[in-house]
């Protein structure tokens, strides 16, 4: 069994001999490891802090040596330390196959086998979600967590669902604000069956209530179209998220509380909401909701036009006239009540990501899209 000799002769030859003896012992002992217990003993014998061979080198070689040789001896020990550690590491996984590999990798060959690990990695890029749909997902997730199911409906709608059943009477001025795109060749049909591209996701409110008696809680993400040519601030295609809650106990205070909660979930708990009277044919009372500016916290900045507030959505209590269209399915406006809300997804995405032009969303420019990874 190898023991660390005391050094008496400090000639280079003597030192070389001592180092060679140690190396031979290290290799032999490592080669004889045949179990986990062997390895632990080997590790402790060489590396134990208290009286391991490495520690002994310090005590027996370095400490007593003449001052002018301290540097030389120190360097020798510094070279030996990683070698000992290397053998200890390899000794752990000792088994015949691995042994061969380790043997074949000479220390020098291993030292030469170096990658420039600072070169860029090989990337297999994954695709990126569209920013508008990403924001839409976030909104939907907030309402799902509040017990809302997801609803959907067609993009080509009838006049009945898009207007009439939402309390837009024929020829009513409120229809003018919708910039509707109509499907051609509908003249022979009754007015309520004529097809158009839905101008909002609100038709799904009626479609859902036709299918399902109260209570209802749905959130409706979807694409809508209007007669607005594509430019920096307008798009003929955009997305909305609509919501509807109907039950025997829904009040205006619940509408406010629900949206306030949702906005805090979306934009952070410090966000405040406020409500202003508005007008939508299918809600009464109707409101516009503003959130305290998510950028300046309400102090006033360019994004909120220095008002501290950002207008985000329209909402209101479901108009009894709307319930009348689905009265047969349990929607008696004297017994139930509900609220509805709708928001433009692009508008929120534009605010959130500071996108200057809405048309960027529809050009498919990968330099734009890939920023939203």
């Amino acid at each position: 069994m190898y023991t660390v000799p005391k050094l008496e002769d400090y000639s280079p030859e003597a030192l070389d001999r001592a180092v060679a003896d140690l190396r031979r012992a290290l290799a032999e002992e490592e080669a004889s490891i045949s179990s986990q217990a062997d390895w632990k003993a080997f590790r402790d014998r060489w590396l134990a802090r208290k009286n391991g061979i490495l520690t002994q080198l310090n005590n027996l070689w370095l400490k007593p040596c003449p001052a002018d040789l301290k540097r030389t001896i120190g360097q020798i020990i510094n070279t030996l330390r990683p070698e000992i550690e290397h053998f200890v590491t390899h000794g752990q996984s000792r088994d015949e196959d691995i042994r061969t590999v380790i043997d074949s990798l000479s220390k020098d060959a291993l030292a030469a086998d170096r990658l420039d690990i600072t070169l860029p990695g090989i990337q297999r890029p994954i695709g990126v979600k569209h920013p508008v749909l990403r924001v839409m997902d976030e909104i939907v997730a907030v309402f799902k967590a509040m017990g809302y199911s997801v609803g959907e409906g067609p993009e080509v709608e009838t006049d009945y669902y898009n207007f009439e059943s939402l309390n837009f009477p024929p020829d009513h001025p409120a229809r003018d604000t919708q910039d509707t795109l109509f499907i051609a060749g509908q003249e022979s049909k009754p007015a309520r069956d004529r097809l158009l591209l839905r101008t909002h996701t609100s038709p799904v409110q009626i479609r859902t209530m036709e299918q399902q008696p109260p209570p209802v809680r749905i959130v409706i993400p979807g694409k809508v179209h209007r007669n607005d040519p594509l430019d920096a601030t307008h798009s003929p295609v955009f997305h909305q998220v609509e919501g509807l809650a109907v039950d025997t106990n829904i009040t205006f205070c619940d509408l406010k509380g629900t949206l306030d909660h949702a906005m805090k979930a979306l934009f952070g708990s410090s966000v405040k909401t406020r409500f202003y009277p508005s007008f939508f044919p299918f809600t009464e009372p109707s409101a516009d909701m503003q959130v305290s500016c998510i950028f300046c916290g309400g102090k006033g900045c360019r994004k909120c036009k220095f008002s501290g507030w950002i207008e985000l959505l329209g909402c209101g209590m479901v108009d009894p006239n709307v319930f009348d269209f689905v009265k047969h399915n349990g929607y008696d406006s004297s017994k139930i009540s509900g609220f509805a809300f709708g928001m433009g997804v692009e508008r929120i995405a534009i605010l959130k990501y500071e996108v200057e032009e809405i048309q960027l969303f529809y050009e498919g420019d990968v330099r734009f899209l890939e920023q939203f990874a």
Binding site: T177, V237, N249, K256, G257, P277
Partner: protein
């Protein structure tokens, strides 16, 4: 619309300053969009909702302020000389259609020998419910006095003359449109409100000759139309410097009638804007007198006789019952009876208390938007202040359900993203040519139509009646045109490596129903390199087989027995480099290289690969449930076969031939290498086929593997294959 706070303060005593007033009005739903200073005056730019036409004037906004601050609203009482307040035609009786009216006072003309009866006849009570008029004689037409002109200018109107300005001033003050005729240019000494006759023409104030139809409601004199009712006055009876005597019109026209006329003649005027939305039936006498007062003050002259007020039908409002319990049920807080009385009373509603916390509410004539109890709740809520209501969360007893397609949509989206495609959204509209070229009907002979057949009627693209442009005249029948546009956009900007996908609706008219016309597709496009050049490796261009792999990856998510590919694809594909996928015998996708002709047309200089999945068909298959299979403990035996085949023998033929052998232990049979060239000979190819055998129960014996290999060789030889080595 603009409002001058100084003007509205003439009617209501508000302590708040102009900015505070603007804020408080906005909170109550009378939105002040901006507050500006201009020429020493404060100006509100208003943004009123379409239902609040009653507040589109200073008196109306003052009324709101009176409710908000609970202060008195002053009455408007025009000061007229020889004021006789009695109404000539009492509004108490219902006037028959075609009724003629004039005042008795007119007949016993006071001081004038020229006094004459001036009958006003409403022939169309539906179109015109009330027509109030006054005659002023000996006026001097000229510029308006400075205070009137200044206010109009601050509101953004150009002063014209004292008579016209009086109507404009009264409109801004009281909200009611009026009109002034040159009395001497009216023929026949009468005013008749009637439908136009076929062939009649009226030159309106803007100088345009309007061909009238029998749907148009006109104001006529004894001979001809002199105004388009509620829209615009006539050119030939307008006020000029020569005008001496005027007739003031203050009438109430039916909203739908005015709206249809304004639409038909493409005219939108201050008057039509208000009448369309519902003017105040009750204000016509007051507005008439107010205009008279302004004219007398600015143009002199004297009143001729009394006001003539002709009522064809009453538009007075019924009363509504309001219950405190309902207020509580919908709004969620309790209003005390005094607050209800105070708010509604200040807004001009007649409030009568009834037993058990209920009220009978008389609706004023100017609030056409209020018809039901719930409309009164909104009045209470907005004056109370929306932000004064607490925020609460409702309890809920229902269940959360997931749409059947939601997990499928999510799975495909996740896969597309993982495969490196960016999600995109294209504009839904295409040109007629694109709609037809990419229609499902176009390719229906290849059995590719995603459309369910409805009585064999061919699917047709849907045209838009009022498109944004001719190139956007149709709804897309396929996602491909939109994807090609987006690829083009990228290539034009030097983005040579593009991978995009879009999941969305395509549209076709199938029968007479609406909803089945709309089908969900998944489209994707790829061009450039699949692997970009880097310090580590050379570029690898995207090929047909990358796309096929992507399609296979997508479809593998769905349960199916068999996935089959053939070359029946629509003509927009490269005929030799495209395929359709059939899942259990039904076409679910087409993909491959874009036809070179189309690529050239669009000036694409690199190969473009496109794919489209018909999701309504794919989604008939449930999502694949993961299944666990025990991993065999026994070794795999591998064998390679090198064959030469005619080009006509596709791999699919080889694969299905081997499948027919029904070798249970054959776990894998794939092509490993393919060679073509001189050594192999023209029209032929050499293929190295790799087979793996394994059993779950035992180690395979050499002799059985040899036997199976021999079967494979024989089978491949039966396809004309020539064995090279084994």
């Amino acid at each position: 619309m603009r409002i001058l706070p100084a003007w509205l303060r003439e009617f209501v005593n508000v302590a708040a300053n102009d900015r505070q007033l603007a804020e408080d009005l906005t909170s109550a739903g009378i939105a002040v969009e901006s507050v500006q200073e201009e020429n020493g005056a404060t100006i509100y730019e208003m943004d009123l909702t379409t239902n609040r036409v009653d507040a589109m004037n200073h008196y109306g906004v003052a009324r709101e302020a009176s409710a908000i601050y609970d202060v008195k609203l002053k009455k408007v009482s025009p000061m007229l000389p020889e004021r006789k307040t009695r109404q000539s035609n009492s509004a108490v009786w219902r006037a028959p259609i075609g009724m003629t009216s004039f005042t008795k006072d007119e007949l016993n003309a006071d001081d004038s020998t020229t006094a004459e009866a001036f009958p006003i006849v409403i022939e169309d009570a539906q179109g015109c419910a009330r027509y109030t008029a006054r005659i002023v004689r000996n006026v001097k037409i000229g510029p308006s006095p400075q205070p009137v002109a200044r206010r109009l200018e601050l509101l953004g109107s150009r002063p014209i003359n004292n008579a016209a300005d009086a109507t404009n001033y009264a409109l801004n003050e009281l909200g009611h449109p009026t009109h002034v005729f040159d009395l001497d240019l009216l023929e026949g000494g009468t005013i008749i409100v009637r439908r136009a006759r076929e062939g009649e023409v009226l030159k309106t104030l803007d100088g345009v000759d309007r061909k009238l139809s029998t749907d148009d409601l006109v104001i006529a004199d004894g001979r001809k139309p002199v105004a388009l009712a509620g829209v615009m006055g006539g050119f030939d009876s307008m006020i000029t410097e020569r005008t001496k005597n005027v007739l003031i019109e203050s009438a109430w026209f039916d909203p739908a009638t005015v709206r249809s006329m304004a639409k038909r003649h493409l005219m939108h005027t201050d008057a039509s804007h208000r009448f369309e939305r519902g003017a105040d039936w009750g204000i016509t006498p007051l507005a008439c007198d107010r205009v008279a007062e302004l004219i007398l003050a600015s143009a002199g002259g004297e009143l001729h006789g009394e006001q003539i007020d002709t009522v064809a039908r009453k538009a007075e409002r019924a009363s509504i019952a309001l219950h405190r319990s309902e207020v509580n049920r919908i709004l969620g807080i309790d209003f005390d009876e005094d607050e209800i009385q105070r708010i509604l009373g200040r807004l001009g509603f007649g409030v009568t208390r009834a037993p058990e916390g209920s009220f009978s509410i008389q609706i004023p004539t100017w609030r056409l938007d209020v018809e039901r109890e719930v409309d009164l709740l909104e009045e209470l809520a907005r004056v109370h202040g929306y932000n004064q209501f607490p925020n609460t969360l409702p309890a809920f007893t229902g269940a959360v359900v997931t749409l059947p397609d939601e997990p499928k949509n999510a799975k495909l989206r996740e896969t597309m993203l993982a495969l490196g495609y960016d999600e995109s959204i294209s504009i839904t509209f295409v040109s007629e040519q694109e709609a037809k070229a990419f229609a499902s009907s176009h390719s229906s002979n290849t059995g590719l139509s995603g459309a369910p057949s409805l009585g064999g009627a061919p699917a047709e693209p849907l045209a838009i009646a009022n498109p944004l442009s001719e190139e956007a005249g149709y709804l897309r029948t396929s996602l491909i045109p939109g994807l090609l546009n987006m690829v083009g956009y990228n290539l034009n900007r030097g983005n040579a490596n593009v991978r995009l996908f879009e999941a969305g609706e395509v549209f076709e008219k199938l029968g007479d129903r609406s909803i089945e016309d709309e089908r969900r597709h998944l489209g994707f496009v790829a061009t450039g390199d699949a692997i970009t050049k880097s310090v580590h490796s050379a570029a690898q261009p995207y090929t047909f087989f990358h796309m096929k792999g992507d399609v296979e990856e997508l479809l593998a998510a769905f349960e199916h027995q068999e996935l089959h590919f053939d070359d029946h694809t629509p003509p927009y594909f490269h005929p030799g480099r495209s395929a359709r996928a059939l899942m259990d015998g039904e076409t679910v996708a087409c993909f491959g290289q874009l036809h070179p002709d189309l690529a050239t047309e669009r000036k694409f200089r690199q190969e473009i690969y496109i794919a489209e999945l018909m999701l309504e068909r794919v989604y008939r298959h449930p999502l694949r449930e993961p299944r666990y299979q025990r991993i065999s403990k026994f070794p795999t035996v591998e064998r390679d076969f090198s064959f030469i085949f005619d080009e006509a023998v596709t791999f699919e033929r080889i694969r299905s031939a081997i499948e027919e052998l029904g070798l249970g232990e054959l776990q894998k049979f794939v092509p490993a290498e393919i060679f073509r060239g001189e050594k192999v000979g023209a029209g032929k190819y050499s293929v190295l086929l790799h087979a793996e055998f394994q059993s779950n129960e035992r180690t395979l014996r050499d002799d059985e593997v040899a036997q199976w290999s021999a079967q494979i060789v024989v089978k491949l030889q039966s396809l004309g294959g020539v064995l090279r080595a084994q």
